[in-house]
């Protein structure tokens, strides 16, 4: 075991390999406040990468109805439970937030790597604490999820003839969109006995070498997010590849510029923003003040990692939903939740402008600048003074090409009915 810095935990932690960081890191932010569970992202991914035989139960992108649903079933509860068993009562946060090396304070508990030593199974200690989901748990991505029972052209309950209407959820819920987090310290990579999983030095995307993989499924067992999948027809594991041809700029639609993944680009709610982050030698983020991801994660601090306590340093971040039970959100996103929601609920001038970059262009925005516009509105939002300026935000690709220009008061262009679906 090596000691590596996990800045999301505010401390060093044990990891089976020495620290090695890519030149750039694939990272993304999902704004849960905007997700309405339409599953467009899910189908964009499915129709691009996992439509073949043997991939029927692969959902590299899925959207879960939390807290009921999850794919595989109860993936997060089970891993949290294993960690609690390994370190009863000790999975707590403390310390004071510091800048880049401990923005959420310090995690005092055990990660999946540290807990593995004390959780000895029939085959001895694993490199990462985890479990292998049963076939049953993989079999139904829609169990406990919300689903339409009618369409706009039929009445409620008539979507399938003879279908049953189940009781609806009477309490809080939200939609959690998930893909592989392309972690800085991947548990799948750590667990693979064949060294078949690797992290690309150019963009930090985690891939499974299909030539080396023998389908031992140690990656499935170790990944706390359960984002590797077994394919029976090839007897290998497969996972989200972060649409790497697009990230490399090989999709013709991008004109040679790096593009966001299919799931990001297809989102109708504009909840997603993906980028490439430059790293310091210790794995912390280089200061890129006008990079939208850097701003939202390290300056505004409205976007938080998913289950940072697992210890893999996931590169997927979420703007937490405002309406959800805070203890649940603390467990899911760590101690930064309260400040994030407070800031997001009454956004300042810069935050309001940067939020406009979500879903605006398929190409990756590397840098933004804001041109100040006129004041259009002032009021109180939840007891706080709120002033809105119709600023213009301009986004640039890494090579300086201007790819986005929009205003805070976004104009709405309505396609006429004749050409509504003509794309």
């Amino acid at each position: 075991m090596s000691n590596v810095l996990n800045w999301q935990l505010g401390r060093e932690m044990e990891y089976p390999y020495d620290a090695a960081y890519p030149d750039q890191q694939f990272a993304f932010i999902f704004n849960i406040n905007r997700c309405i569970g339409c599953q467009t992202c899910t189908m964009a991914c499915k129709s691009t990468w996992t439509f073949s035989k043997g991939q029927e139960y692969m959902w590299w992108n899925n959207v879960e109805t939390k807290p009921y649903g999850g794919y595989p079933h109860h993936w997060d509860v089970k891993t949290l439970d294993l960690l609690e068993q390994a370190n009863p009562g000790g999975q707590n946060w403390g310390g004071k937030p510091e800048d880049l090396k401990a923005p959420y304070g310090k995690f005092n508990g055990k990660t999946v790597f540290e807990a593995a030593k004390t959780f000895i199974g029939p085959e001895g200690a694993n490199r990462a604490l985890g479990y292998l989901p049963t076939d049953e748990e993989w079999s139904a991505p829609n169990r406990y999820e919300d689903h339409p029972t009618g369409s706009e052209k039929t009445s409620k309950g008539q979507y399938f003839k003879g279908g049953e209407l189940l009781p609806e959820h009477k309490t809080w819920f939200f939609y959690l969109a998930r893909i592989c987090n392309h972690c800085s310290y991947p548990a799948c990579l750590a667990a693979c006995p064949r060294n078949a999983i690797y992290k690309r030095p150019e963009d930090g995307i985690v891939l499974v070498d299909q030539e080396r993989c023998r389908g031992y499924r140690k990656c499935m067992e170790a990944c706390p997010y359960k984002k590797t999948y077994y394919r029976g027809t090839t007897r290998t594991s497969e996972k989200c590849i972060a649409c790497f041809p697009r990230v490399e700029g090989k999709d013709q639609a991008g004109g040679g510029l790096p593009m966001q993944t299919r799931c990001m680009a297809s989102c109708i709610g504009h909840i997603r923003l993906q980028g490439l982050i430059e790293l310091n030698k210790d794995g912390t983020w280089k200061e890129m003040r006008n990079n939208p991801l850097y701003y939202l994660i390290h300056v505004a601090k409205v976007a938080l990692p998913l289950y940072p306590q697992f210890g893999t340093e996931p590169n997927g971040y979420y703007i937490p939903p405002r309406w959800v039970s805070r203890p649940y959100l603390h467990q899911m996103f760590g101690p930064g939740v309260d400040a994030a929601i407070e800031k997001y609920s009454a956004p300042d001038r810069e935050l309001l402008a940067v939020l406009q970059l979500f879903g605006k262009d398929q190409r990756i925005c590397h840098r933004y600048e804001i041109k100040e516009g006129p004041k259009v509105f002032e009021t109180e939002v939840r007891g706080k003074k709120f002033v809105m300026y119709n600023d213009t935000i301009i986004g640039y690709a890494k090579d300086g090409t201007k790819i986005i220009e929009t205003t805070v008061e976004e104009p709405l262009h309505v396609r006429d009915a004749k050409h509504a679906n003509s794309i």
Binding site: I36, V77, D135, P148, T171, I268, G269, P327, V376
Partner: protein, 149 residues
């Protein structure tokens, strides 16, 4: 290795879980969706279409739970908070951009809900009032029929 059979006796197989709270936050969720999509440039009719469409699960569930009048009122309430007028009775026509007080009052009176009256100052918005003159589409591009609301 994964088990071939589902074992109901397996104590590790979770069949339910406890929530930390059973609070119903449907209203807050609906309000958030309205505000988010409004900020993205959606008009009030398009937002109502989101709630009406069963394929948009979260909004539709809120509409199913609370009823359409409640959702319409909430749309008006959120739009009013951001200084925007909602008229459900007819297609939005061109509005004088400077007549903020009447717009605000109109929006307030269109709601049957008690909403927080705040000291709002409006400034001119470019292009305000042009929405709704052409056929509207929902987020999938499908035309939204004119509602008699």
């Amino acid at each position: 290795m994964p088990k071939d059979e589902f074992d109901f006796e397996d104590p590790f197989e979770l069949n339910g879980m406890a929530f930390m709270t059973h609070e119903d936050t449907t209203n807050d969720m609906a309000e958030t969706f309205i505000e988010e999509f409004m900020r993205m440039g959606y008009g009030h009719k398009q937002i109502l279409a989101l709630f009406r469409n069963p394929h948009y699960l979260g909004p539709n569930m809120a509409l199913e739970k609370r009823g359409e009048p409640f959702i319409r009122d909430m749309i008006a309430e959120v739009f009013a908070r951001w200084g925007r007028q909602v008229e459900w009775a007819s297609v939005v026509a061109n509005l004088p951009t400077q007549d903020c007080s009447s717009r605000r009052e109109s929006a307030l009176t269109s709601s049957t809900n008690q909403i927080e009256r705040t000291n709002v100052r409006c400034y001119e918005r470019e292009g305000e009032g042009t929405r709704g003159e052409r056929p509207l589409t929902d987020p999938t591009g499908a035309p939204i029929p004119e509602y008699t609301v």
